[in-house]
Symmetry: C2
């Protein structure tokens, strides 16, 4: 079995004009959503700290930290933009694997494209191929790999970043095999870090490490030729189960990015059906927090496993608390970034309602489904069954939804006019002669 | 159980004057051996390629690439020196875990010490503590962790690098916990990469990633407080077995660096008893390759698992071939770096003898033991039982052996005079006011 070589051969030889229109459209939507998240997240404390820590060691000012004025060498710019784009937990989701595909890939190659011009067409193709590598590797090991405790966006993302960067560098097949090998032997990131600054560090490092892998491979830095399939390679060392057909079958016939989804809420995706249900009940019945006696949730088991934090203390923890999320959905009618600030997580009214939320896991409920039951002080019992959460493949975000989300993220950072110009550039990325203009447009005027 | 916090508290609070003399002496020997390996390995193709690839992205010239003229930011200098010091597979070994302790730690903190002065006393103490963290974590998960396929020098080394760097930065307990967390979530490196350039990349990255972790933690970058012990932390995710007492018991009472050993031969340590036995037989009987009919080896099972490459094609693979090693031991009477060149691995005489070597694993043989049987064309059968290989704890390298090894490595790079001066500085490291002089002395005159 020649898994790594097969995948490398595909990435190296795939022609840009072979990608169907619907796939390219979804790639543009993914990129736009990523850009909004990266610009929106760029002022987060996590980014401030990372930037302060690495600045004394960074190289020449080759690429922009999106949403900010600083310029760094392309490796560190990839790290910072990867952090920014994930720090709100608002980026895209490949539902089958819970990979957030764009972060590691786009952060790596948009940095690269500021060093040497890349057309929008080539950029989008490398992006699509990077996501393909990342998600196929994820498909091959999910859920066993994730269940062990690996943050799959980091562990699979580094392969995707290497593949996309390697495509733009024009690596040959042997070099691409090495790029995947050097990437894979850096694959890392624990789910234990969820709720801390390290969570967004993972896609940032995946971008940076994949980018380095491609550049080392270009110069002839060798690795095993079988990083994916060898008995001591990625799929055996980092997973208890694996299916290599997921990596090698139908390459070029299907595209994982076509299955990408975008979050309407700024938190762990498994909470989305609950927020959706709570917001619907709130709006239908004009619910007020102080008239609620208790809230019962029936959810997929993964919800409690991933987002079972009962008493979050900071905003980042709130994103992994189904209890906090249900409370703010009722009180605020939404779950944007403001609902996950440190102060909102500690707000007495929110805490009081949060403590009234009870959740039980059910094996008969799908990941994008839930039952919400609100019991009022006056004895009334209100129920909502969400079959598919908004933002799921069954109820996708429209282009208009994505525009509104983009504005919500980018307007406060760039100003509405500049944000709109950046948004239009993203929609038209395939027509750009040099995608570096995107990075320029994503930095606020001095 | 408070494993990470207990370890962090120890590192933060341990006073330098509490380390016994014999431990400090062994630390000096470890450092000297590391320095020789780093200088000696600095001209290897692996280092050339890595340097060429990262140079366009490196930061200010803060620290030296040992054995060379280039200067890089401290993070990249740590990477390069970590690669150099391991690329010959000639560095130190903590036999219980097969960790090569010095590489990740010394590479990280000698870079740091070129940015801000550090006394030899403080440097050596941070080095000892880093090795302690690295090897205790190794002890807690070895052999299960290693058997899965993890290159433990990389996976455990990153913690040690973070701890040593954090000690020099003066981190408080919470910051040290974060440093270990940020380090752990980057823990990576597959044994699958043995025999390729990625093997020495692992300690290099461990040094660089641990150094970054400490600097991020210093600024307040958060991680889980329980990276080692949490159900989704290092010891559960990356090992099937674990014993946390190995990390927390007797801190300050014993020192793992006191158990460090140094290689007389430039290859995987499990081959050392075989080389020792072959060299002894050669010298005792004046053996010539063309009079040998076959060579039979009875070895620990790990020898075949780690070094079973029957037909190595390049020098790096030769270091993981017990067959090649036995052949050159007979022909050359030694196994230095020259015996593991690409040309030596392809030499027809070596290949002919290599093909006559047969190895069988035995469960009754210790890791530093072997039986060598040489059958000659004239019917004679010669046997040698090596109970403990030279370089093992039972037959340690003397200071004079280490001096000779250092000269063999450093003289060709620095010249004999400069190498001797560097050697003397290393022996006297505890008296240095500023260890940056070591880096200066380790660079050849322009």
């Amino acid at each position: 079995m020649d898994v790594t070589a097969t995948l490398a051969r595909y990435v190296v030889s795939a022609p840009a004009d072979s990608v169907p229109e619907n796939v390219r459209r979804e790639a543009v939507r993914s990129f736009l959503n990523w850009m909004g998240c990266a610009v929106g997240g760029s002022r987060h404390e996590t980014v401030d700290i990372a930037l302060a820590a690495i600045s004394p060691f960074a190289g020449k000012p080759q690429a922009a930290v999106l949403g900010r004025g600083e310029r760094l060498d392309i490796m560190h710019a990839a790290l910072l933009n990867g952090i920014s784009s994930h720090v709100f937990d608002f980026d895209d989701t490949h539902l089958r694997t819970i990979i957030h595909p764009a972060g590691p890939i786009a952060s790596a190659i948009l940095s690269m494209a500021q060093l040497k011009p890349v057309s929008g067409r080539d950029f989008l193709h490398a992006f699509i191929l990077g996501v393909e590598v990342e998600c196929r590797i994820g498909n091959a090991v999910y859920p066993a790999h994730y269940d062990i405790g690996w943050h799959i966006t980091g562990t699979a993302g580094v392969f995707g970043a290497a593949a996309a960067a390697g495509k733009l560098l024009g690596l040959n097949e042997q070099q691409m095999i090495w790029a995947l090998g050097i990437a894979g032997t850096q694959s890392s990131g624990f789910r234990e870090m969820f709720g801390t600054m390290c969570k967004s560090f993972h896609p940032g490092r995946a971008a940076q490490n994949g980018l380095l892998a491609a550049h080392l491979a270009e110069r002839g830095f060798t690795s095993s030729n079988r990083v994916l399939e060898a008995p001591r390679g990625f799929a055996h060392v980092m997973s208890t189960e694996r299916n290599f057909d997921e990596i090698t079958k139908g390459l070029g016939d299907s595209f994982e990015i076509a299955l990408n989804t975008y979050k309407p809420f700024a938190c762990g995706i498994v909470i989305h059906p609950i927020i959706d249900g709570c917001v619907q009940l709130r709006n239908e019945f004009g619910l007020k927090a102080d008239e609620i006696e208790r809230i019962d949730l029936e959810v997929d088991p993964l919800v409690l496993e991933l987002t079972g934090k009962k008493t979050p203390q900071v905003g980042l923890e709130g994103k992994f608390s189904v209890y906090h999320s249900a409370a703010v959905a009722i009180i605020d009618g939404k779950a944007g970034e403001e609902e996950y600030s440190d102060s909102r997580v500690r707000d007495p009214q929110v805490v009081t309602l949060r403590d009234k939320v009870h959740a039980v896991a059910s094996n008969t409920i799908a990941e994008d489904e839930c039952h919400v039951t609100v019991t009022l002080s006056d004895g009334r019992v209100l129920k909502k069954h969400v079959e598919h959460a908004i933002g799921s493949l069954a109820r996708p975000m429209s282009n208009a939804d994505l525009d509104a989300k983009f504005s919500g993220l980018a307007d406060p950072v760039l100003g509405a006019g500049a944000a709109a110009r950046l948004r239009d550039l993203c929609w038209n990325i395939e027509k750009l002669e040099d995608v570096a203009v995107l990075a320029t447009a994503a930095v606020p005027a001095a």
